[in-house]
């Protein structure tokens, strides 16, 4: 019972956001932008990321309350803050965390000068946590049912997913013509840990009654599917969870496949359209699988001394367990990756004159210094998809310093300003991006924060000509 309260608390206190990478998207001087659109118009002779440092990204936030709301060191009682946070939240508020670290990555151009095909590949580790705020259950834990006679506490609000996985991927993109770039990426997922409980239903109800004091019903259809977790919950487990998860993430035996696809198209020289779909794929969980269910209907009446039925268990615990048994199943199951869709349209202007002194590079492609446009991001969730709309401005400053600023409207914030830059010193590329800049005056009050950071070595396509 205590455990349930702890889990509830944890659920309410962890904060997070979606996987929108609005600054990185279509940031063509950063190879990692291929991970958000395999059809990004990017060229290189070859590149490789500095192992473990080429792509680090994290995403935290919460659509209703911030870390400050809960943990501020301001003398207000924690219980009061928790209560306020729960009251502020609605059942559609989301709490999610996403983190990605590239272990290694690289890419190269195929064949001779006439070949316009590029390969990119790598391995990254990803952790996802996504849940809706189970407001009814939080209220029940905080207040009990006394204040809520006649109310049904909705168990379907319990919706949570957690996953730690590694992704092995290889992608290919080709400049089909001056106007069109197509790309795709195949992915092999290896799941180290999965917990999914998204199809719950039922209610807990207390009303008034005539024969008994209350009419108390628990109707439960709860299911938690998990793989790779059971071991840690055993009493005699004494290993290191972190290293065991890391080990299983690569050799766990729960595998899946998926793909990304993307396109860049120039209807006119200075108009660019892009679109991508990321993580269309599934993972089949067959090893270390454990599915817990609580399914049943129980009406609690209390002790009735003149009712004798020898077949009916006499005490409330046995009665409850008979009505809503805890079953453990070991069925294999499949989870779908959250699918992400990105699209953008960009208008470019201000032709580059940086290469004027050295006209030896006979580019038939005009380089523009500025670009403005809009982007759309949609991600699938257990309920309605999450959507974000971004307006952006990108500019090339100095030589080899690209910057991009974004303004995003989504369910977490209506004034999310992001900024990113990428700079190349010789072959060395450094990029950093973050969003919710307005909140940086006090990051703890932000409802969400995202950053990406990475280091690469990029050998440009034209470097052989220098």
């Amino acid at each position: 019972m205590r455990k349930i309260y702890l889990i509830l608390l944890l659920a309410v206190s962890v904060s997070g956001l979606t996987q929108n990478k609005q600054v990185l998207y279509n940031f063509t001087s950063v190879p990692q932008s291929l991970l958000v659109n395999p059809g990004t118009d990017i060229s290189y002779k070859y590149y490789f990321g500095i192992p473990l440092l080429s792509g680090i990204s994290a995403n935290v936030g919460s659509s209703s309350f911030s870390a400050y709301d809960l943990f501020a060191n301001n003398g207000v009682d924690f219980n009061t803050k928790l209560r306020n946070a729960v009251n502020k939240a609605s059942k559609n508020d989301v709490v999610s965390v996403n983190e990605q670290i590239e272990l290694f990555s690289g890419g190269f151009k195929l064949g001779g000068r006439e070949n316009k095909g590029y390969i990119s590949f790598g391995v990254y580790q990803e952790a996802d946590f996504f849940m809706y705020v189970p407001k009814d259950l939080a209220l029940l834990a905080l207040d009990g049912n006394q204040k809520y006679i006649g109310k049904s506490f909705d168990l379907s609000q319990l919706s949570v997913k957690a996953e730690v996985l590694s992704v092995f991927h290889i992608g290919y993109h080709k400049k089909v013509s001056d106007k069109l770039v197509l790309g795709g990426r195949a992915k092999l997922y290896s799941s180290g840990l999965n917990a999914t409980s998204t199809k719950n239903s039922g209610y807990i109800y207390t009303g008034m009654s005539n024969t008994t004091m209350y009419n108390q019903i628990i109707s439960s259809n709860l299911e938690l599917k998990s793989s790779g977790i059971a071991e840690y919950l055993e009493d005699d487990y004494n290993g290191s969870i972190a290293s065991d998860i890391a080990h299983k993430t690569f050799l766990g035996g729960n595998y899946g496949v998926g793909f990304d696809a993307g396109i860049t198209y120039y209807p006119k020289k200075n108009i660019q359209f892009t679109a991508s779909v990321i993580d269309v794929g599934f993972i089949r969980h067959s090893k270390e699988v454990e599915n817990l269910t609580y399914k049943g209907y129980y009406q609690y009446e209390g002790v009735n001394p003149n009712f004798t039925n020898p077949n009916k268990p006499e005490n409330v615990f046995d009665e409850f367990e008979a009505a809503i048994p805890r079953d453990t199943l070991y069925n294999k199951y499949t989870t779908w990756r959250p699918v992400k869709f990105n699209s953008s349209i960009q208008y470019s202007f201000g032709e580059s004159r940086l290469d004027e002194e050295c006209n030896c590079k006979t580019h038939n492609k005009t380089e523009y210094l500025n670009g403005v446009g809009v982007q759309l991001f949609v991600m699938s969730t257990p309920r309605t998809p999450l959507t974000a709309l971004t307006a952006f401005y990108r500019r090339t400053l100095l030589q080899n310093l690209q910057v991009k600023a974004t303004y995003t409207v989504d369910s977490y914030s209506s004034k999310n300003i992001g900024f990113g830059f990428s700079t190349t010193l010789g072959k060395f590329n450094l990029y950093a991006m973050l969003d919710n800049i307005l909140e940086y005056k006090d990051i703890t009050k932000a409802n969400s924060a995202t950053f990406q950071f990475g280091l690469n070595f990029i050998f440009k396509e034209n470097s052989e000509e220098n």
Partner: protein, 183 residues
């Protein structure tokens, strides 16, 4: 190489500024102060006894029910976190006799941990409903937590004799209000 170094320096400053942010002092140790104080209401016991049950072969009798399991405190969650309890009884009598309804909470060794007696007046054409509340705190609560059985005894007081055909019922419904403090 020199301009590169110069640029590099500038750029490092830009990076440093970018990652510079203010943050309020957060105190995650506060979670230790977490105290949940839910108030739960639940059914306790109920019965509905007909007047005829107090007559056996023409002789009046009291009704003593067999002791029933009452073992919510078998669960350590209840033992550890319950800070206060209230038992609310409501009795409705439509029999023309007065009663004493006794609730006896017994421990494993059949020792009385708590005993409540509720006086119920006889029915005289108008329905009467008796309400009674027991509050358990500190020592009384500690005793209650040892209870594993509940015995209900209905003693009939003197009055107009009942027959097997006498009308009326003695009804009881009751609920518990449990005040938890979960740390």
């Amino acid at each position: 190489m020199k301009p590169y170094l110069h640029n590099m320096f500038l750029r490092l400053i830009i990076v440093a500024v970018l990652f510079c942010s203010c943050a309020s002092d957060l105190d995650f140790d506060q979670t230790k102060d977490l105290t949940l104080e839910p108030v739960i209401v639940a059914n306790l016991t109920y019965f509905d006894v007909k007047a005829s049950a107090f007559v056996d072969n023409g002789t009046e009798q009291n009704v003593f029910f067999d002791a029933k399991d009452f073992d919510v405190f078998r669960d350590s969650f209840f033992r550890d976190n319950l800070k206060k309890a209230e038992f609310n009884f409501e009795i409705e009598n439509t029999i023309s006799r007065a009663y004493i309804v006794g609730m006896v909470f017994l421990d494993e060794n059949n020792q009385v941990m708590h005993d409540t007696e509720i006086n119920v007046p006889a029915y005289v054409n108008t329905p009467n409903s008796v309400k009674h509340t027991d509050v358990f705190e500190n020592q009384t609560l500690d005793l209650l937590k040892k209870a594993v059985k509940l015995e209900i005894r209905i003693t009939m007081l003197a009055g107009t004799p009942l027959t097997a055909d006498s009308s009326g019922n003695l009804k009881l419904r009751s609920g518990a209000t449990l005040y938890f403090e979960i740390k």
